[in-house]
């Protein structure tokens, strides 16, 4: 192609060409949430298990690192990791619910149902909304219990 003539050829389907919709979003979020759970979630779970097995002191050190350091003068490192730990835990909660609801949607799609444009868009939107809602509800419950 020389350059300036209008291109009437069909364009190759690709991310920059298609307008983003909920079905595309829920697809990539399934991968992102799954990989987050697989690497960050499973890693944190093994660290937590190891801390339980290693005894009260190691467990207290784990909690002081990722949640709350009870010592009167908190080191700069723990000030940062206390905030980072909460961000990661909220993120993992969202990733869990997003991946769970999206996975349930995949079970329905596996039966051959839910591919019509309207219902596909509807349930993709429902999955994303339910993931955010369940995350908010879980943390509101945790904070209400803590008070």
């Amino acid at each position: 192609m020389a350059g300036n003539e209008p291109n009437t050829r069909p364009r190759a389907p690709h991310l920059q060409v298609y307008k983003w919709g909920p079905a595309m979003a829920v697809s990539i979020l399934h991968r992102a949430s799954g990989d987050g759970l697989a690497i960050v979630g499973a890693g944190l779970f093994l660290w937590w298990l190891g801390a339980i097995a290693a005894g009260p002191d190691a467990y207290a050190a784990f909690v002081a690192c990722i949640w709350h350091d009870p010592s009167p003068e908190i080191s700069l490192f723990h000030q940062i990791t206390n905030i980072l730990g909460k961000v990661v835990l909220v993120g993992l909660t969202w990733a869990f619910f997003q991946h769970l609801f999206s996975g349930l949607r995949h079970f329905v799609l596996d039966t051959g149902a839910g591919y019509e444009l309207k219902s596909n868009k509807l349930w993709s939107t429902v999955v994303i909304a339910a993931g955010v809602f369940a995350t908010a509800a879980t943390w509101l419950y945790i904070m209400a219990e803590a008070l």
Binding site: A53, A54, G55
Partner: protein, 133 residues
């Protein structure tokens, strides 16, 4: 599926060499994860997580320890399948082999560490003294 050779039809494996095995295992471990991770998340929300003795008592309960070991198997199996697809999509050339080997180290090593740790919690309650993990 398709018009493959007679031998291919008999074996039913297709060009991947392992047929629908990956797909089916992903679904079956997903079902396991719904039950086992569901139980785990509800437990986490209800446990006093700052209290080591309470968490240890919970994890040392035989039924809980068994469920946790089954969860480790189901989760690490499922994450290996998922990360395999991620690697196949984004990593090419000689790095593909390296990434796949590292993934297997992570999945098998992580699962072994998890199972061993749960067994240690359930079978040998921690006593004060040197050592630890």
């Amino acid at each position: 599926m398709g018009d493959g050779t007679h031998l291919g039809k008999v074996r039913g494996l297709g060009s991947s060499g392992h047929g629908s095995q990956h797909w089916l295992q992903q679904r079956l471990t997903a079902l396991g994860n719904i039950l086992l991770v569901g139980f785990f998340v509800v437990s986490l929300i209800r446990l006093p997580l700052g209290d080591h003795a309470a968490v240890l008592r919970w994890a040392a309960n035989p039924m809980v320890a068994l469920a946790l070991i089954l969860m480790v198997v189901s989760v690490f199996w499922h994450l290996r399948l998922g990360l395999t697809v991620l690697i196949e999509d984004y990593v090419h050339g000689p790095m593909l082999l390296l990434a796949t080997v590292l993934l297997n180290f992570y999945a098998i090593g992580g699962a072994a560490y998890g199972i061993f740790t749960i067994a240690r919690i359930a079978l040998a309650p921690v006593v004060a003294g040197p050592g630890g993990m």
